[in-house]
C-alpha cells in the first residue's frame, strides 16, 4: 500500500518530539514492510538522513518546491520537500513575531526560540494561516500527480494539506494528533488553530492519538466520534549499542534536570518551586533547566527571588549531543508537564539510566511503570520524589536495572504495525 504522508522534520534537524515521532514511525513502517511512503515535508535542509527516505523528482510542483533524486538507497519511501515557511510548534503569534523580526533586521535566516532554523528566502507568507493554505494548494497538486492509497497527516499544520489531498484524490485520510491546541496553549485556545484542528479531525476517516489523554481531549473538546479515534503510543529508538564517552561530571553535587521548552505546557515553574523545597534540606544538589521558551525570563526572575541562583542553572536550548551529555550528567530527570500528549524525553532519559519523575498529565505515564508519577501541581510530592531518589539508594538501583529494559521494549515497529492495521481498515 502507498501512503502519502504529510510530516515534519527529519534528522538532524529535529527540534522536538514531533519530528522524532514522525521519523520513528516512518522507519517503523518501513521495517514492518509492504508500505510505500511518499513523505512530504516543508522546506528541509538537504542534509537529512536519506537512508530511510528517498527524494523523488517532481519538477511539475510549483511554489518553489525542491526535489532531488536518490537512486541508491531504499526505494520504499519517497520524500518530497516543499519550500514553505511553516514550522512546527509555532503559534500564530510567534510566527508573526518571527517574520517582523526578519523584516526589520533584513535577515534571511532566523533562529526561533526553539533553535529551529527556517528559511525566508522565498517570499513571506502574509501570515501563518496563509502559509498553511499555500501548503494545502501544493498538497492538492501532489495528490493529483502521484498515486497512493491513503493520506496520513501529522498535526494541525498539515491537516489542510491532508484535506486538500483527500478532496483531490478521494482517498481516505488519517490524521495523527501529537498535540492539540489545548495542550500547547494551556487553556487559551487560538480559535483559528482550533478551527483547523476540528475540521481536520472531522474530515478524517480515522484519528490516531498518541495517548488516551489526548484521545479524551479529541473526543470531548472536538466532538469526534469515539469509534473513529485510536490510541497508538509512541516509542523510542533503541539506544545506541556503542557507548560513547560519557560526559564527566566536574562537580560532586547531584544534578536534577528539566529538559524541554520553557513554556506553560511544560510546567517549568513547578520544577523551580520543587527545587527550592529540596534546597531547604540538601545542599549538595544542583538543578538544571535546559531549554528555552517564553517563560524563561520569568523563571530566572523567580529563581533570583528565591535566592537559589547559585544552585539553579539555565543552559538554554540544547542540541543533539548536548542532550545526551546532559542526560549523562543527570541524577534525576523531571518532566512536570501540565499537559503532555505523549512526552518522549523521559524515555530518552531512562535509556541513559536516569531515574525519571513524570506528571500524571502526560501520555507517557499511561505506559511507563518504572517511573515516579505525580500530579504536576503537587510540588510537595515532586520535591519528595527528588529528595527520595537522591538520598535513598534503593530507587536509583531499581530504576537503573529496570528502566532501560522497559523503554527498549517500546518499539516503533509495534507502533507502526498498529498504524498499518488502521490503514488496512480504511482500504
Amino acid at each position: 500500500m502507498k501512503v502519502l504522508m504529510f510530516g515534519w522534520e527529519f534528522p538532524p534537524h529535529i527540534s522536538g518530539g514531533l519530528g522524532t515521532a514522525c521519523y520513528g514511525l516512518t522507519k517503523g513502517l518501513y521495517t514492518v514492510g509492504d508500505v510505500e511512503i511518499l513523505f512530504v515535508v516543508p522546506k528541509a535542509f538537504g542534509d537529512e538522513d536519506h537512508k530511510i527516505v528517498r527524494l523523488i523528482g517532481a519538477n511539475e510542483i510549483s511554489l518553489g518546491s525542491s526535489i532531488r533524486n536518490y537512486e541508491s538507497f531504499l526505494r520504499k519511501i519517497s520524500f518530497i520537500e516543499i519550500k514553505s515557511n511553516i514550522l512546527p510548534y509555532a503559534t500564530p503569534e510567534e510566527y508573526e513575531a518571527a517574520i517582523d523580526f526578519a523584516r526589520s533586521e533584513g535577515k534571511e535566516l532566523v533562529y526561533t526560540k526553539m533553535g529551529q532554523k527556517f528559511d525566508f528566502s522565498g517570499g513571506y507568507g502574509a501570515n501563518l494561516f496563509q502559509e498553511i493554505s499555500n501548503y494545502a494548494v501544493v498538497a492538492g497538486q501532489i495528490a493529483s500527480q502521484f498515486d497512493f492509497d491513503i493520506i496520513h497527516a501529522h498535526d494541525w499544520l498539515t491537516y489542510p494539506a491532508g484535506m486538500a489531498a483527500k478532496a483531490v484524490s478521494g482517498k481516505p485520510l488519517v490524521v495523527h494528533v501529537h498535540a492539540t491546541d489545548f495542550d500547547r496553549s494551556g487553556g487559551s485556545v487560538n480559535p483559528g488553530v482550533y478551527d483547523i484542528e476540528r475540521r481536520g479531525m472531522h474530515a478524517a476517516d480515522k484519528v490516531i492519538t498518541v495517548s488516551n489523554l489526548t484521545k479524551n481531549i479529541v473526543i470531548n473538546n472536538y466532538g469526534i466520534d469515539p469509534e473513529k479515534v485510536t490510541t497508538v503510543y509512541n516509542a523510542v529508538e533503541p539506544s545506541k549499542t556503542i557507548e560513547t564517552l560519557k560526559a564527566e561530571k566536574g562537580i560532586n553535587d547531584k544534578i536534577v534536570t528539566f529538559l524541554g521548552r520553557v513554556t506553560l505546557q511544560k510546567g517549568p515553574e513547578y520544577f523551580i518551586e520543587a527545587a527550592y523545597s529540596v534546597l531547604q534540606k540538601m545542599s549538595n544538589v544542583r538543578f538544571v533547566m535546559a531549554g528555552s521558551g517564553e517563560l524563561l525570563t520569568r523563571m530566572i526572575h523567580r529563581v533570583a527571588a528565591l535566592k537559589i541562583g547559585d544552585r539553579v542553572h539555565f543552559t538554554g536550548f540544547l542540541k543533539g549531543d548536548q542532550v545526551q551529555e546532559m542526560f549523562d550528567l543527570s541524577d534525576v530527570y523531571v518532566m512536570p508537564s501540565v499537559s503532555e500528549p505523549f512526552g518522549i524525553s523521559p524515555l530518552e532519559a531512562m535509556q541513559s539510566n536516569v531515574p525519571v519523575i513524570i506528571s500524571r498529565q502526560s501520555g507517557v505515564s499511561e505506559i511507563l511503570q518504572n517511573a515516579i508519577k505525580l500530579d504536576f501541581w503537587d510540588i510537595d510530592a515532586m520535591a519528595d520524589a527528588i529528595y527520595g531518589i537522591l538520598n535513598y539508594p534503593g530507587l536509583e538501583k531499581h530504576f537503573r536495572q529496570h528502566g532501560k529494559e522497559e523503554v527498549n521494549n517500546l518499539k516503533w515497529d509495534s507502533a507502526a504495525t498498529h498504524v498499518k492495521e488502521i490503514y488496512q481498515t480504511l482500504i
Binding site: 534540606k281 535513598y392 530507587l395 531499581h398
Partner: protein, 492 residues
Amino acid sequence: MKTICLYFQVHQPMRLKRYRFFNIGNDHYYYDDYLNESIMHKVANKCYLPANKLLLQLIKEYGTNFKVTFSISGIAMDQFRLYAPEVLDSFKKLAETGCVEFLAETYSHSLVAFKNDEEFRKQVELHTDRIKEFLNVEPKVFRGTELIYSDEIGAKVFDMGFPIVVTEGAKHIMGWKSSNFLYCNAINPKQKVLLRNYELSDDLAFRFSNQSWAEYPLTAEKYVGWISEALENGETANLFLDYETFGEHQSKESGIFDFLKHFPKEVLKKTSFKFATPSEIAEKLQPVSAVSVPHPISWADEERDLTAWLGNDLQEDAFNKLYSLTERIQKCEDKKILIDWKYLQSSDHFYYMSTKVFSDGEVHSYFNPFDSPYDAYINYMNILSDFIIRLNSAVPENQKDQELATLAAIIFDKNKQIEKYEAEILKLKKGPLKTTSSKATKKTVTTKPPSKTVAKKAPAKAKTSKTVQPKTATKKKTTAKKAAATKKAKTK
C-alpha cells in the same frame, strides 16, 4: 481419626501517614490515625464482630465438636485497644470457651527472623505476653508472619519453646507429597509441621464469590464433599485463611457467613471428621515424614516465597537499613522510640513497595494507602530517616558514645576529688591549724575552676539532648547535682 483445622489470621498494620522529607527532624509522629481508625472500624463491623459472634454461636451449638484457631498480631491487638475494644472482648469470649486456640507469632508481624535471633525471640515473647494478658491463654504453636517458614526458622522457634509450627503447603516444597498429613522439621524432627491445603483454602479465600468460577456458587455441602475427597488418602485438611475473608474480602452478600454457619453442621452430620486445633492435631497424628524447606516459603502470591516483601532493591534497601539499627535499639530505653521500632517493622510496609503490584495487583493493593511502590518506599525512607535521627540522639553512635562515656568518667573523678577536698576543708575549718588550712584553700582555688566548668557543662548537655544514653545521663545528672551541691557548699 481424620481432622479439619480451621485457622484464621488476624492482622492490621499501623499504616504510615504521608511523610515528606521536610518533615524529617521536625515531625516524630508517623501514623495515619484517621486511616487506621476508619479501616479498623470498617473491618470490625464487617468482619471481626459478626464473624466472632457467629463462631461463638457455633461453639455454643456444637460444644467441643467445633474448634477454630486464630493468630492475632500484636499490632492488631494494639489497634483493637485503640479503636475497637469490643473486638478484643469478643475474642476474649471465644478464648473462654476453650474451643479456640491462639497461635504465637512476632508481635510486629515482622520479618525479623531473617535478621536477628535475639530480636526475633523478644518479639515472640512480647506477643505471647500480650496474648496471655488480653486473652488469658498461652500460645503453644508458632506461625511465622504470613506463614513464613524454613527449616532453620522452625529449628529456632523450637528452641524458643514451640514444638509445633504451621506453614504453607507450597507446591514447590511438597512435590508429589500431600499437605494433608502431619510432617516434621527436617533439621529438628521433634518439631511438628502442619501444612496449609492451599487449594481448599483458596477456594474460600479467593474464589468463593467469583461468579465466573466453574464451581460457583460454593455450598457447604459441595465443599465438604471436596474435603472428603481430599481426606480419602489423608489425615488432616488444614484450612488457613485471612480472617478478613469473612465479610471483607468476600462480602456478606456473597453468602460467606451462611457458608460458615452451615459448614460445621455439614461436617459433623455427614462425615466422621473432627474439628481440631493445631496442638490437638500434633498430639493425635503421627508425622509421616520430614518436610525439607531449605529456602523460606510463605503463603503470598503465586511464588509462595519472600519476593512479596524482599523481592526488589527498594525493599532490600529499606529492610537492611531498618535492621542495621538493631544493635543500637537494644541499648535504647526511650519508650516512644521502642514503640515506633515495633510498628516500623511490620512486613506490610515492605509489601507496599513490591513492584509485583504490576502483575499481582489486586491482592497487593488491598488496604494499600500508596499509589505506587516508589511512593511507599520514599515515604518509608523519610520516616526511617527521622527515626534514625531520634535514635542517634538517644543512643549515640559508637565514637560519640565513647567520647561521652570518657567525659562522664572524668566528671566522676573530678567530683570524687572535690568531695575529698570538701571533707578536708570541713576538717580544717573545725581544726584551728592555720598553716595546713592555707594550703588547703590554695588547693581548692586551683581545683575550683575546672570543677565549675564541668558542673556547668553537664546539665547544659543533658538539656540539649534528652537523648543521651540513659546510664550516662543518670551519671551526669548525679554528677551535676553533686557539683551543684558542692557549689552551694562553697558559696556558703
